[in-house]
Symmetry: C2
Subunit: 318 residues, 2 copies
């Protein structure tokens, strides 16, 4: 069996072109550019909670990094460097080859260097820390939404939760729909370029990891405002189209989580600019409501009646 | 049961005085000082591997941060910011209160801010990422040892491994010795000030986490040199004094790991400066051997005969 150090050398020790020092010492060394602030975030994925036992290792490598890249997108930061702490039940080289292929393929797309980490034995757990750069004063925060701002959402919502429901037997999807919803769950696309381009435009931003309603509430709480949202305007994943299960659709779209789309607010005067931006990036950007004074989230259905919806995902409530 | 967000607010969300933005957004924001490089490292602790089930949570909070501070010390970096990713089997508030007391007490001693993290449910796993600053060009590396350099060790070796052996029934210690060895294992003291003061003095450095011999080998490999070490000169934890078990002592001192002392190399011309430094910090600094040309680690016993010793700790070999 290869040793811990052989595994690191074989699978994790790649040249870190954008770092002063990468894998192999007690720490990595990086130097943020002049005039740059450093955005730092960490996310942990646990087998049986964030992914099923036996999950495809390549997809898992993609997702473990993607959820962290998504945090950079929500800050308007350009991801630069990542560290990986991983506990593995065994030194399974096939698994590691797949996992690192998924991880490094995504990392290379965004010019992110893996600069450090820790490899140990234990129940499968993956914690990635991401570091990114954002020009001084231009980071996007949850706490910037103002009454009158539009509320925007990128892409489409609910597809990841629908895939999860289908795998649990709570929904029946055709093969093509199961596959495309499954990709939303297993291989989310972090909205990095969108986040970068929203610097100076978005007044508040968050990535939708816990569900639209819960994540919007985080923005409202931090900003000290309320919101009015029209459910009919929310962009729904196309896999819901033929399903005819309104309750499931609503649960997935509002509270499903794992979408990794961006939810952001912006002044009404930015509408044209944002539409042009979405067109240029080929990402659907949809206006779904407005920020209001107060502290309430009001959700209206297609007939203008108030809807109730649960909060976001809570790891200790289930 | 408190929600994930209530737990974060109650236990982890402390003012981050040295950061632009701390816990509570998609990422934290920090700005390294002018002329500073950023040292970044991550370490993961897993129940049943790095600590026993039922371990004292306060000590665990201390140790989880201490092992990361030790990596900063080995780089000559000043620790500034930490992120905590933690998987917990349940929202046990007594446990969390103890864990965060241990963590924050140590963090405050070194003016380290907890700026972010991730809290989830799962088998107990703790991954901390530490960020520190070091003036441009002054970081300590494993790869700087040169033939003729002295090899130095801080503090005393083997005590942590001895405590582990005693708990496993492989050694019998008196109550006072069990307690003091136990503190070496459970609450190691990271050598942060020593690492900072060794900038410009040490030619190579590493912290002893996997055992003296294995960690020295990392320095030798990275530096492309060999070494001659006199076992009799190695500083041994005082808890070995009355034990009379030479084999166990040798195993613990050479291969035990978990000591978190610094092993460093320096030119012979630095001897007086290093002795003065150790006196000022009240840390024993012991010269244990010399760097040599070649690639061999030669260990001599008290009679000048070559000793064999195993490697360091390998998470996938046991």
């Amino acid at each position: 069996m290869p040793s811990e150090f052989e595994l690191i050398a074989r699978y994790f020790d790649r040249p870190a072109r954008g770092a002063l020092l990468g894998v192999g010492d007690d720490a990595a060394l990086v130097r943020p550019g002049p005039g740059m602030e450093l955005a730092v975030s960490t996310d942990m994925l646990i087998e049986g909670r964030h992914f099923a036992a036996g999950a495809n290792p390549r997809a898992l490598g993609h997702k473990a990094l993607a959820v962290n890249l998504s945090d950079m997108a929500a800050m308007g930061a350009t991801p630069r460097w990542a560290l990986l702490a991983i506990a593995l039940p065994a030194a399974d080289e096939n698994w590691l080859a797949g996992f690192t292929r998924g991880l490094f393929t995504l990392a290379e797309r965004f010019s992110v260097d893996l600069i450090g980490g820790d490899t140990t034995r234990g129940p499968l757990a993956i914690a990635i820390t991401i570091l990114g750069e954002v020009p001084d004063g231009l980071a996007l925060f949850r706490a910037g939404a103002r009454p009158g701002d539009d509320i925007w959402v990128s892409g489409a919502l609910g597809g990841a939760a629908l895939a999860l429901a289908a795998r649990a037997g709570r929904a029946t999807l055709g093969a093509a729909q199961a596959a495309s919803a499954g990709r939303r769950l297993d291989e989310p696309e972090p909205r990095v370029e969108l986040g970068e381009r929203l610097r100076g435009i978005a007044t508040g931003a968050i990535d939708i990891s816990d569900g639209f309603a819960g994540d919007l509430r985080h923005v409202l709480e931090r900003s000290g405002v309320g919101a009015l949202v029209h459910y009919a305007r929310l962009p729904k994943a196309p896999e819901f189209a033929d399903l005819g299960d309104e309750q499931l659709e609503r649960d997935c779209v509002l509270s499903g989580g794992d979408d990794y789309e961006l939810l952001f607010t912006a002044a009404q005067s930015s509408r044209t600019e944002i539409e042009t931006l979405g067109g240029g990036l080929d990402i659907a950007l949809t206006r779904v409501g407005a920020i209001q004074p107060g502290d309430k989230l009001v959700l209206l259905d297609a007939r203008g009646a108030a809807m109730t919806c649960g909060g976001g995902y809570d790891h200790f409530a289930s």
